[in-house]
Amino acid sequence: MSVFKFPESIRSRPVYGILEPRPGRSHLMIADCEGAEAILDLAAQASDLMANTHIIFIPNGTLFGPKLQELNPAQYYEGPSFAAALSRIQRVLSDAVMGLQIYLTGTEGMMGQAQNEAMQAGYDYTAIQTEHRGSVARRMQCVHCKGITEDVIIDPFECSHCGLNLFVRDHYSRRIAAFQGVCIDAEDPGNVPASVELYS
């Protein structure tokens, strides 16, 4: 099951919708993992989009690639990681003209980073469609050392840079495309509750 309904939280926490076809000159769809399913759903509603669509897919071990290719998009790229796909995303955005519709789907970490790239290209983030699919693991920033730890699925967790025990907050930064992790045992070092899986 790739759809997860996030409970209500503070205003800082991103909320995601369901991708819908919108009129546009061209369409950029960026997905990782189960995000492919959201693109397949979207294409089922509006197959005519694909003639002007560029799909950038990061499978991360999933096997959706051939199905996405069968949609016959104008351009299709598969990359092993977001970092590997980044230069292509940046190039596509820098060449893009208004009338481009942007669709992001998959994990929060990927969507946040892709949104950040679109924002830096001058595209208003409120106009970017997002749909969460797949893992609820998060991209976390340690507020102390500023290091980023990817794919955090337990709370609290250990910062992969400075080793502090961090509490997973819903406080989010669009600029950094990460949730904030705050030291949980600052006042009583060593007093760290047992980690639990997020949303378990």
Partner: protein, 332 residues
């Protein structure tokens, strides 16, 4: 060099902060449009503003006090002088006619502090301006603001004829490569579809002009896939004349008859009650007022209330909306 004005005590609303001015110059631009320039009476500097801001000009026309918003079109960094350009509207309620016919150099008037409901989005990679007729005024200030920081902008300005093309000469002389002029009487029109196609990502589109033009530009942009957040428009509604009607103000315990050429907001102010306001043109939402009792038909004309609020009969925007009926009681 004059000093900036000292901070006064906090106003009830921004629109309530008033500046006494003297009319320092009146410059007719063509048959319809005249520029009015103002200097402060107290010798202080005007506040700087951001391009797209308007000021509300108070006009004492006999017994009638009108307060009409006009876009500031002077340089936003210029603190000695404010300027507005006013198109004479022979069919309107008389605010523009009053300025054109009764105001002379040396007259004292009252302006509100600037309020901006049509500001530039400074995250934009490019600013694309579409103006129709007198809708050029906010862009005059925005262009000066952007020029000071070498901003990337382009203007497409449609006017009826060369004779009525306010500021065309000035714009073309200074910015030959950024300004495009279209004259109706030469059958020239903006090729909007092609203009919107190919603008670099991060472009923001701004339109100011007649309602038909605003609707056309917004509709075209939406169908070409431009996000709403990248499309900005300014449309002030002038209050329209209408049948006189009576209103009772519950909190103040006062009653008043709203005259044919007077807005509900102006009638309330005539009693000495000071409701909040900013734009006086049905756009900003500041003057939204609760209706406590009514028997009759609301004539809603604003862009602020949602359709269900308009039909609910419990909200009214007194700056532009009217009422036709026996009883109207407001929470003021």
């Amino acid at each position: 060099m004059t000093a900036p004005a000292p901070n006064s005590t906090a106003p009830k609303s921004i629109g309530a902060e008033k500046i006494k001015v003297i009319v320092s110059a009146i410059v007719p631009l063509n048959n319809l449009v005249t520029r009015f320039e103002f200097k402060r009476i107290d010798g202080y500097q005007f506040p700087t503003f951001s391009g797209g801001a308007h000021t509300v000009v108070e006009m004492q026309d006999g017994d009638l006090k009108r307060s009409n918003p006009y876009s500031l079109m002077s340089d936003p960094a210029e603190t000695e002088t404010y300027a507005i350009s006013v198109r004479r509207d022979d069919q309107g309620r008389g605010g523009s006619l009053f300025l054109h016919q009764k105001v002379q150099v040396g007259a004292t008037m009252t302006l509100s502090s600037p309020v901006n409901l049509f500001s530039l989005d400074l995250r934009a990679r490019k600013h694309l301006f579409v103006a129709g007729g007198i809708g050029i005024t906010p862009f005059m200030a925005q262009i000066k603001q952007l020029d000071a920081v070498h901003g990337n902008w382009e203007l497409h300005y449609s006017c009826r004829s060369p004779e009525l093309g306010s500021y065309v000469d000035e714009l073309c002389a200074k910015h030959a490569h950024s300004v495009n002029i279209y004259y109706d009487d030469k059958k020239q029109s903006i090729d909007l579809e092609n203009l919107l196609d190919g603008q670099p990502i991060g472009t923001h589109l701004y339109v100011c002009g007649p309602k038909g033009m605003i609707d056309w530009v917004r509709r075209s942009a939406a169908s070409a896939g431009w996000p709403d957040a990248h499309v900005h428009h300014e449309e002030f509604l002038a209050p329209q004349p209408g049948k006189p009607f009576a209103v009772r103000l519950a909190k103040s315990g006062l009653s008043v008859e709203v005259g044919e050429h007077e807005s509900l907001l102006e009638a309330i102010e005539r009693l000495g009650v000071e409701p909040p306001y900013l734009c006086r043109g049905g756009a900003c939402g500041q003057c939204e007022t609760d209706v406590l009792e009514s028997e009759g038909i609301f004539i809603h004309r604003d862009h602020w209330l949602e359709d269900d609020e308009k039909s609910s009969g419990i909200k009214i925007m007194p700056c532009v909306s009217r009422f036709d009926g026996k009883i109207l009681v407001l929470d003021r």
